[in-house]
Amino acid sequence: MTVLFDTCALISLLNEKAICHVSAEQCLRKLVEGKHRIVVSPLTLAEYGVKGNLADVYAQPFRIPNFGVPHAEKAAKFRAVTCDAEKVERKKPHDRQFIATDTMILAQAAAEQVDRVLTNDTRTFTRTAEALKKAGEILPNVVLLNDDPLYHLGLTSQRNFDFEK
C-alpha cells in the first residue's frame, strides 16, 4: 500500500503539541512496520518549509516523488473540475470552497498510484476529494487522522471507539 501524508498530517507528525500528533505518529510506525510506501509531495515540502526544518522531513522514511508533467496535467484537469463545482457550491461571490494546492496534491497522489491520503483537513481537502470523485475521477481514499486512521488505513481490524464523538 502507498500512503501520502498531506501537509496537515506532516505537521501533526512532527509537532508534539498538534491535535492529531499521536495518531500521526502511530500511523507512521505501523506503516513502516508493514513496509508500506509512504509518500510526501514536494508541494507539502513547500508549505512545511515555511516554518519547519526540511532536513527533519528528509530524515524520515518518506519517498518524495518529483512533481512533473503527468502531475501538472492531472492537476489542471482536477482544478477545472473544482472550478466548475465552485460555481455551483459557492454561497457568496468570493467563497473559496476549493484550494488549488489540494487539487495539486490529490493529482500527484492519483498519478503516483497512492492508495490512501492521510490528513486532518476535514474541510477543503475532503471537500475537494469528494467533488472530484463526484465528477468521476479516480482518487485514493482520504483517511482522517481524527477518525480512527489505523482502522481506515487497514492497519488494524479493531475499531478504536475512542475516536467516536
Partner: protein
C-alpha cells in the same frame, strides 16, 4: 427560389451517438436501468461534442441519442472522429478531444462502448480492447515508483523484469549486469523500483520503463524521529491546529 428557412432545413443531417454495455447483473444497459446521474453524464459528454444549441433526442430501449444539426457541424464531428481513430489528436479541438479521452477512460473502467454513427456509417467506436493509433510527439520524460511482484526476469537480447500489481503488468528494461549481480532470487517476490519512463501526454499513460534503482523498504530511525519531533515542536510552536495555519498560508478558505 427557396427561402432561407427551407434551405436551412434541407441542410440538416442526423447523427447517432450511443453507449453500449451491461449492468452489474448482466442486463444490457438502457434508459430504464441507468441512473439519472450517469445519463446526465452521457448527455453532458454528447453536448460537449456537438454544442449546446443542437437537438439531442434520447431514444427508448438503449442509451442512444439522435442529433440533428447542420451538415457543417456533423461533417466537423465526423472528421474529428476520423482524426481520433487515426491518432491525429492534434487536429481535434481541445474540448472535443477531452470528451473522447474521457470516454476512453470511462470505457476502460466501466466496460462501456461508445459509438458515433452517421448515415449508417460507424465513424467512431471507443471501448475496451479497441485501440486507436497512438498520437506522436507528445511524450515527456518521467519517473515513477512501482511496487509489484516479479513474475519474470531475464531475456537474451533485451533483459527485463515483469512486475505485476493491481494496476497492471509492467515490463521494465534492466541491464544484464543488474540481473547477474542480484544476490538473491527475486522471482515471485514483491519489490519496489524507481523507473525512468515516458509519459504520453495525449494518452495520459506511462510507457517504456527502464530501471533506475531498486527502492529499499522504509526503516524508522528512532533517534532521527525523536530529534525531528523535538525540533518540529519548537518550529511549530503555537500551531496546534495545522489546518487553520495552512488555510492562512494558502490565502484563506472563505
Amino acid at each position: 427560389m427557396k427561402n432561407v428557412a427551407a434551405r436551412q432545413r434541407e441542410d440538416r443531417k442526423t447523427l447517432e451517438l450511443s453507449v453500449k454495455g451491461v449492468t452489474g447483473d448482466g442486463r444490457k444497459i438502457s434508459l430504464r436501468n441507468t441512473d439519472i446521474d450517469t445519463l446526465t453524464k452521457y448527455l453532458g459528454q454528447w453536448r460537449r461534442l456537438v454544442g449546446q444549441n443542437v437537438d439531442i433526442k434520447l431514444e427508448n430501449g438503449s442509451i442512444k441519442a439522435t442529433v440533428t444539426a447542420t451538415s457543417a457541424l456533423i461533417a466537423g464531428l465526423v472528421a474529428d472522429c476520423d482524426h481520433y481513430a487515426k491518432g491525429q489528436t492534434t487536429e481535434i479541438p481541445e474540448e472535443r478531444l477531452s470528451v473522447f479521452l474521457q470516454m476512453e477512460q470511462d470505457a476502460k473502467e466501466g466496460h462501456r462502448q461508445y459509438g458515433v454513427t452517421c448515415e449508417g456509417r460507424q465513424c467512431l467506436r471507443i471501448g475496451p480492447g479497441i485501440h486507436r493509433k497512438a498520437a506522436r510527439n507528445r511524450v515527456e520524460e518521467a519517473e515513477l515508483e512501482i511496487e509489484g511482484a516479479v513474475t519474470d526476469a531475464g531475456g537474451e537480447g533485451s533483459p527485463n523484469i515483469h512486475l505485476f500489481n493491481k494496476h497492471g503488468k509492467y515490463t521494465i528494461s534492466v541491464d544484464r549486469q543488474f540481473l547477474e549481480g542480484l544476490s538473491e532470487n527475486i522471482l515471485y517476490k514483491t519489490i519496489r523500483v524507481l523507473v525512468k519512463c515516458k509519459y504520453d501526454v495525449v494518452e495520459q499513460v506511462y510507457k517504456d520503463y527502464t530501471l533506475k534503482e531498486l527502492v529499499d523498504m522504509p526503516v524508522l530511525d528512532e533517534q532521527k524521529l525523536t530529534a525531528a519531533i523535538k525540533q518540529g515542536t519548537k518550529d511549530w510552536q503555537g500551531v496546534d491546529d495545522p489546518y487553520k495555519w495552512l488555510v492562512s498560508v494558502r490565502g484563506g478558505e472563505e
